[in-house]
């Protein structure tokens, strides 16, 4: 086995029970030092956006969302968006190493299953990104479950999202468009994104889905 991130050999020894097939061997993707870079978000997090904190009260940003009368997304994220996660995203999204989609695949699917919603809708990427990057990073990570591509990107601007700050993001109008509204009427929907930064993307998509007839919208992401 080779660590998917640093490409060093994993010195893994099967335990006695694993050797005889009595306990299932977990296919490890990462070596110990790479794995330890990622910080798992525990149960002490903001109930609305999943941000890690010391208590379970609404965080400042979510209070602002509430003030703008946006519905809560009950967002949950697996990991903190720290340096390790940032360099993972750099390698996966911007370098385009599609292989890395497998690393968090199982955990993300687990998280999606736990929420128990009717439809799973990934946040789409623009046409331009699809032509240069060649894949949607969210669908890649969710490989293996049924997805509904209900949304598509309208914007034709070439500016990349990650270069915008919070103020810029708040000012933007609707980014998405519904492909087929018959799919979502009367359904509860789970939105999936790779990183939740300010929440504007997810709120934007949620608003659109609800206005087109979705019953409820929740969201999950890999990092927060």
């Amino acid at each position: 086995m080779i660590c998917a991130l640093c490409r060093t050999e994993l010195f893994e020894v099967d335990s006695f029970l694993q050797f005889f097939g009595l306990v299932k061997t977990e296919g490890k993707e990462l070596c110990y030092s790479c794995q330890s870079g990622f910080e798992i978000i525990g149960s002490d997090c903001c109930p609305d956006c999943g941000r890690q904190q010391v208590n379970r009260q609404k965080c400042y940003d979510c209070q602002r969302w509430q003030y703008q009368q946006k519905p809560s997304l009950h967002h949950r994220a697996l990991y903190k968006y720290n340096d390790a996660m940032r360099s993972f995203m750099q390698q996966y999204k911007f370098t385009g190493d599609y292989m890395l989609r497998k690393i968090f695949n199982r955990q993300l699917i687990q998280l999606v299953h736990n929420t128990n919603m009717d439809l799973v809708v990934p946040i789409p990427v623009s046409q331009y990104t699809m032509r240069t990057r060649g894949f949607n990073q969210v669908t890649g990570m969710l490989e293996g479950i049924q997805l509904t591509n209900a949304l598509q990107v309208i914007s034709v601007k070439k500016r990349q999202q990650s270069n915008l700050n919070r103020n810029d993001r708040m000012k933007r109008k609707q980014l998405f468009d519904i492909q087929d509204s018959t799919l979502i009427i009367g359904k509860s929907i789970l939105l999936v994104d790779d990183v939740y930064t300010t929440g504007s993307t997810l709120h934007c998509a949620a608003e659109l889905l609800i206005s087109c007839g979705a019953v409820s919208v929740k969201s999950v992401s890999l990092a927060r």
Binding site: G96, M99, Y128, R131, T132, G134, F135, G140
Partner: protein, 436 residues
């Protein structure tokens, strides 16, 4: 981007971007045209990308490779600002290299550690620069390139040099002389008239098809290729006299022989620091000598560092490993004499010079120390004229064939060196057809 950015290069551009320059398909079949490997990973919609060379940015079937032919747009005005003198043996090798350049051949320089390989290169580089040829000096190791860069710059003060490796941010610019790691050659296409590969036998170049392909592609069809090494691999040795000519230099520049490897048996040094080692370190500290301690694994560094710090609290020391963010700074501290000893893994086995040091190798029987690695480590010792000798101690739990082979290799080198030194046989041997 200017045209000169593309001279002799292969740059990845998305197909959506239009360009007037030469455009090549990134893949023929499933073979990546940048690295020559058939190691692809699927993308959605029947696209794919190359896994083998992704550390230099992705090449996918959504991209083109853009390049312009190398025009050799140089003034040819240069000056050799190096003031030193070559020994007679070095001079002979250096003259052979001039011939290699004019004949556009491939040649191996097999010179013992500390023979002054870099200095022997100056005349041939100077000649090439004068003839408006484009020159690259490359090595598989970053440390070698980092150490080489200031020396080359000092020798050619008036020449603009670009240094390219993965750990730095210097922007590429079009220069006549390029210093780079072998991986960077993937970005070049038929660019160099003279290509010098230092430490050809070291990891990751030895046995890597991708890097061999990269080097072959980076040089022009009609060009000279010079390999440098102290410890050629068996595959290289087999080519000697058949497809490859070589110059052999068995004596160091200061005319002294190589320090020999001494083997000492100890018990499990990971568990408890052996008495012999402690005594030896104590002695070296009392003599105020600088020394390196080589360890097999990164995980061994910190425990030993802490143990030794407890025993010798007043002595300054440090440890360094490949992924260390302060790697270069620590090596510099050792060079400046700020610390008395440095613990390291095999990363410092070659290409670095600390004048007048001694070396201890703990766990020399571990599999990470190959025969050639041990010879290279021994070659760190006695590199200055003022102290051309020193201690090389290998502490092992079990003597194995590898350690013995390393000892034997050094002895063979010394026998040949002695022949050159005392009997004044042909100073350096040029191997044309004779097989060693």
């Amino acid at each position: 981007m200017n045209d000169d950015y593309f001279y002799g290069r292969q740059i990845v551009q998305p197909k959506t971007e239009s360009t007037k320059r030469n455009v090549n398909e990134a893949f023929i079949g499933t073979m990546c045209q940048r690295c020559g490997q058939n190691d692809i990973e699927k993308l959605p919609k029947k696209h794919f990308y190359c896994k083998a060379c992704i550390m230099l940015g992705r090449v996918s079937s959504l991209d083109n490779l853009v390049s312009l032919p190398e025009p050799n747009q140089f003034s040819g005005q240069t000056e050799l600002t190096w003031q030193g003198q070559l020994t007679t043996q070095q001079k002979q090798v250096s003259d052979t290299l001039l011939k290699v350049l004019s004949q556009r051949r491939t040649h191996l320089v097999w010179a013992v550690t500390g023979a002054g390989k870099t200095e022997m290169l100056f005349p041939v580089i100077y000649k090439a620069l004068n003839q408006k040829l484009r020159v690259a000096i490359i090595s598989p190791r970053i440390d070698v390139i980092v150490e080489l860069a200031p020396r080359i710059q000092a020798a050619f003060e008036k020449t603009d040099i670009v240094v390219l490796h993965g750990n730095q941010v210097e922007q590429y610019r079009y220069t006549q002389l390029v210093l780079a790691t072998t991986h960077q050659m993937l970005r070049f296409y038929r660019a160099f008239d003279l290509l010098i590969v230092d430490e050809i036998d070291s990891f990751p170049f030895a046995g890597d098809k991708m890097l061999a392909y990269a080097v072959n592609k980076a040089k022009k069809v009609n060009s000279a290729l010079i390999y440098l090494t102290a410890t050629p691999t068996t595959t290289l040795r087999k080519q000697l006299g058949k497809t490859l000519t070589a110059s052999y230099l068995p004596l160091r520049f200061h005319q002294h022989l190589l320090p020999e490897l001494k083997v000492k048996l100890v018990n499990n040094w990971r568990k408890r620091l052996p008495r012999k080692v402690e005594q030896q370190i104590k002695e070296l500290i009392q003599l105020k000598r600088q020394f390196l301690i080589f360890l097999p694994r990164v995980a061994d560094l910190k425990p030993l560092y802490q143990k030794l710090n407890k025993i010798f609290p007043e002595i300054k020391s440090d440890y360094v490993y490949a992924a260390d963010p302060q790697r270069q700074a620590k090596v510099q501290k050792m060079r400046d004499g700020e610390i008395q000893y440095l613990m390291t893994t095999t990363i410092l086995e070659r290409g670095v010079t600390f004048p007048g040091i001694d070396v201890l190798i703990l766990g020399a029987d571990d599999k990470v120390f190959s025969e050639n690695a041990l010879v290279q480590i021994a070659g760190r010792v006695g590199r200055s004229v003022t102290r051309p000798y020193g201690l090389v101690l290998a502490y092992v739990q079990h003597i194995n064939l590898k350690v013995l082979a390393a000892q034997k290799q050094i002895m063979t080198m010394n026998r040949r060196g002695r022949a050159v030194k005392y009997k004044s046989k042909p100073d350096s041997m040029v191997i044309e057809s004779e097989k060693l």
